[in-house]
Structures are given as C-alpha cells and as structure tokens.
Amino acid sequence: MATESTTDFSLDPAAALAAEEGGAIEGKSPWLLAWRRLRRNYVALGFLLLFVVIVTLCSLAGPYAHHIAKTGPNDNHLGETFVRNGKQIPVVSKGGFIKGQFKAGGIPVGPQLWHAGGKYVFGADTQGRDVAVRLLYGGLNSLKVGIGSGLICTLFALVLALLAGYYGGWVDWVIARFFDLIWAFPVLLLAIALGTALSINGFHHFGISIASGSLWIPTLVISYVLIPYIGRPLRGQILSLREKEFIEAATAQGAGGIRVMFTELLPNIASSVLVFFALIIANNILTEAGLSFLGAGVQPPNPSWGTLIADGQDRIQTAPWLAIIPGIAIVLTVLALNIFGDGLRDALDPRAKVRMEH
C-alpha cells in the first residue's frame, strides 16, 4: 500500500524549509525533490509570478473600471470629451477642417498612460470605449475560458485515461477510438464548426441548457477538441504502469478498481498531469484567441483578447494600439505559462535534467 509520505502532493515551501533546516524528514518524497529543483529555477518562478500578476490584474477589472477609469467595458463615449492637462480632448476625433487642413474623423484617442487621471490609459477604440478597461475584462474572459477549459479537459482526459488503462479490454478500445476520432479532425476547424453551430441557438440537449452567448460554449468546445492531446499520452503511461508489480501487490491485498486507480496509478502520473495542465492552459488561451478572432469563440459584446484583436485589425494603420496591446497581453500570459510549464517538467522529470548535461 502507498504510505502517507508517497502520496504527499504538497509543494509546500514550509515543508521544504523544515526539511532543509531541521533535517527531520528522512525519506524525501519525489515532490520535495522536485520542489527543490524548481525553487532554484528562478526563471520559471519569475514567469509564474508574472502569470499570477496578470491573473490578479484581470480579476481587478471591476474595481479598476469603477474607481479609476469610471466607465464600463461596453460604455460608448462617442462625441464625448475628457480632460487632459486642463484641455478638453474628444475621445473620438470629429474630423473636418482643422487649421485649414482636412482631417478624417473617427480616429480614437491614443494611449494616455496616466496623463488623463486614469482614463484611456491604453487609448480608446472606435466606439469611444476605454481600451484598458476592455483589456482587463477581456483578459478575465480569456483566462476564464483558458483555465476553465484546461481544468475540464485535463480532468476528463485523466478519468478516461485511468478507466482505459486500468480496465483495458473493450473499455480501453472504446476510449482509445474516441480519442482517435477527435484526433482525426483538425483542431481549429472542429472548434470553429462546433463554436458556430452552438452560437446559433446555444445547446439544449440531454437536459443541459446553455445560452448562445455564454462563455461555457468556447470553454466546452476547447476542452472537447483538446481531450486526446492529454488523454492519449496519459493512457500510454498508465498502460505501462499497469503491468508493474506494485499494482499486482495492491490488487492482491484486495484493493478495488477505484482504489487502485486513485491511490496507486494517479500519484504516479500526477507529475505529468501537472505539467500538461500548465501547458494546456497556455495552448487553450491561444486557441480561444484564434476562435474569438474568427468570431466562433467569445461572442460580442463580451470582450476577450481575441475579439479585441479582431476589432482592431481594420484600424491597424490609424489606431495600431487596438490590435497590438491585447496581442502583447496574450504573448506575455502564454509565454509565462509555457516557461513555467517547462521549468515544472524539468523539476518533475529527472530525465530532463540528465539530458541538459550533455
């Protein structure tokens, strides 16, 4: 049977410190060793911090909109003005003859940073909406979809892989063919197809009812199309673990299916699951951006980083910040997760460390 120490999931810094100072813990769990490796990887930890900062900023979207920018994500300010250094400046330029020269109108004001007292920090869009507010709300939606679909996708893939790997036989056959079938479709195209079909009337089958503009649609679509990308490698790992002696020992002691799956198999693949989880969130944020850019993901007026870029693409010459700023937000978030995920893999998989030494 697995003892308490081998099933210890904590990546708790306090435990690691106690182990270093007091030396009280004799047997070091693989998790403790991994944490020690990770703790020395300042680059990975730095990028984890960056991700946490981005998540925190986006979750402060509401207070920021109310108290600093004093506008909502969908509030139009066409034809309005704001004060900068005591001067009234139109949010969206009116155009016409200014000092004898004709200027085209409809050009929104550019990034103000802090010169306008927190308003239009990243400029306005063509509707006069505050880009910084929309960026934070959009980030919140992108992160919700990315993290939510990452969770659902990893969870489903894990359960299916455990069932397939443990029971084998026809259960394995059905699950493996299910993975193969989704795998056969091109990811983005299947997601576009599902996203568009679902955005017509929403989903109303099997007693589940989801409205057509709901964030659940992109979340579930992305989780569904990416299940085999986690499920297939996990199933492979479990199939090989299943033949090991400790599983036989557990079965001989009378452990049932659920027990073997969750106390014997799961701890052994938990490190892979964690790495996959970090990397799949990065991938899902990119997929969501692509889907929303094409109009098959998060539906307007809900902003997301992808829809913000789509809104800005026609204005790339006159108002380049509209498309550039949300793109930078995506790159920073995804890069942070990818680098942290890489560091996590190096820490959890000692083989990777051996490879580095060549």
Binding site: L181, A184, L189, I192, A197, N201, F293, A323, V331
Partner: protein, 317 residues
C-alpha cells in the same frame, strides 16, 4: 506490407464514416430546431424550405437524413445559405492558395527547424542553445494572426519599411514572381511558429542519439566528427521529425493556415470557412471540415507508410 496497407485503409475508412457522422450531428442536430429554414437561408420562400425538407429527407429517420447529407456533399450540390454559391466549386477555387501557403511554409519551417536543431544540439548548454530555446518558446507563445497583423503593419503598410505587398494571393500560373513576393510574409509568419518547436524536438533527438553505442563505435574508429553527425546521428534523429512533419503539415492546413489566410486575405479554403462564421453560414464550414478531415486521415495513412519505409524496425511483416 500489403496486409498492413489493407488494415490501415479499412481503419481509415471506418474513421471517415465516424467523422462524417459526427459532422452530421454537429451541423444538423446540435443547433436544434428545424434545420430546413437554416439551410434555405434568409431569403427563402416556403416552397424552398419544403423542397429542402424533401431533398434532405428531414421528415425521415436519422440514417436516411445522414445519407442525404452525404450525397449532397459528394455530388457537389451543397449550396451556401447566404451567397447561394456552390460549396464544392468555392473550395476548389481556394485550394491553390491554401496549398501554396502551406507547402511553402512547410519547406521553410522544416529546413530552418533542422538547421536550428543541429546548431542547438552541437552547442548544447552554450549561449546559442539558450537563445534558440528562448526564441522557440516565444515562437509557440504568439498567436499567428497577431504576428501576421504586426508583420503587415510593419512591412507592408507603414512607409519606411514597406517591402512587401499587403496581402492578397496571385496565382502561380499568372505571375510566378508576384506569387512569390505576395507569399513571403505569410510563409514566414506561419513558419516562425514551428521553427523553434522543431528545433527543440530535433535537439533532444540528437542528444539522445549521440549516446547510442553505434555513434561511439563510429567515433572510436576515427571518423571525422562532421561525418558522424551527418551520417550516423542526424540520419536517425530525423525519422521522428519526418512523422511529426507529416502530421503537423496536415494539422496546419486545418489550423493555423485558416488564421494566416484570413489575416493576409489569401482567399484560400480556410478563409472561405472563416468568412462563413460571420454570417453563421453552416454549409461552407461543413464542407471544409469534412474535406479537410478526409484529407488528413488519408494523409496520415501515407505518413504511416512512409515511416514504415524509413524505419525497417517497425515495418510489419
């Protein structure tokens, strides 16, 4: 080899049947309600709707509906809701642009990926290895459509650096030079995402192969290092890359290529599907999904055969 081929083809056929059935569920069943008015489009009369119901057997059981949908797809009578244009002929029109984009980008990313991977493995642990790793991570973290927009903004639209034409596709048969110039940016943008990834995969393959006994033997008998690298290490490290490339190439056609075509307005198959999203026009998306999936399934059979031919160890007897 023949039984393997037959087994693989039967498997592929079953996958195609299942894939087409899922497509039917997605487009006819999921949206709910009566599909006939949707298929007839916005300007349909009651007679049109009744005709469609008749033609697609919508009053019949699902297997007959499914069969009717497959027929309309493969006899080329499927029409778009909004433009009433024939889906199959629109797809055919987009194929040259899509293939030009993906094949060109594939050559660039495979070539540079191998170069980067070899440099990275030879200098493992050194500065250039680290720079390449960082660039690879940045590469896979960028949304391809955003990179395309930035490339257009910097190199096609703002005046000091306007080296390239801004999007659009010129057929190869019409003007080869213009075809090439128009595709340089899309190729590069699409390839940049994969170069770093391939470089990293090849790097770790090479580092694994370098420790094999036969490499040590080759070194011990005094072969020059360059020869060991090219003939013994690289040759074996490239096999997984070939498979990966086959699968990725197919995936790019149904993935990043859609976004790249849309940003650069290349009017390929992917953009045709993407444009239809705006008007919730299901038939073009259905047509592109099913044709692309069929292509990918058949392509993966070819890759399997190629793999078996390259690596005798996995060749079935």
């Amino acid at each position: 080899m023949l039984p393997f081929l037959v087994r693989r083809l039967i498997g592929a056929f079953l996958v195609l049947v299942a894939v087409s059935f899922i497509t039917y569920l997605i487009f006819v069943k999921i949206p709910g309600g009566d599909p006939a008015p949707r298929i007839a489009g916005r300007l349909a009369t009651d007679q049109n709707i009744a005709d469609i119901r008749q033609k697609l057997h919508l009053n019949d059981p699902f297997y007959s509906q499914y069969w009717a949908m497959m027929q309309s797809l493969f006899t080329g009578t499927l029409k778009s809701y909004s433009s009433q244009l024939n889906v199959v002929s629109e797809i055919k029109r987009g194929i040259p642009a899509t293939l030009s984009l993906t094949i060109g980008a594939g050559i660039i990313w495979l070539g540079f990926g191998i170069l980067v991977g070899v440099i990275s493995a030879v200098t493992a642990g050194g500065l250039s290895d680290r720079v390449i790793t960082v660039l690879a991570l940045i590469g896979i973290s960028m949304p391809v459509f955003w990179l395309g927009l930035i490339a257009r903004y910097l190199f096609a639209e703002s005046h000091p650096f306007s080296f390239f034409p801004d999007g659009e596709y010129v057929p190869l048969t019409q003007n080869p030079w213009q075809w090439f110039v128009h595709l340089i940016m899309p190729w590069t943008v699409l390839a940049v995402l994969s170069i770093g990834f391939y470089g990293r995969v090849l790097r770790s393959n090479i580092l694994d192969t370098i420790n094999e006994d036969y490499v040590r033997t080759a070194r011990a008998k005094g072969l020059p290092p360059r020869r060991v690298l090219v003939k013994h290490v690289l040759r074996n490290s490239l096999i997984p890359i070939v498979t990966l490339f086959g699968l990725d190439f197919a995936a790019v056609i149904g993935g990043s290529a859609i976004l790249t075509e849309t940003v650069f307005n290349l009017r390929g198959v992917g953009q045709y599907a993407a444009d239809s999203v705006q008007s919730l026009d299901l038939p073009p998306i259905m047509g592109v999904t099913i044709y692309a999936t069929f292509f990918i399934v058949l392509f993966s059979v070819v890759v399997d055969l190629l793999y078996a031919w390259l690596d005798p160890r996995i060749r079935p007897t």
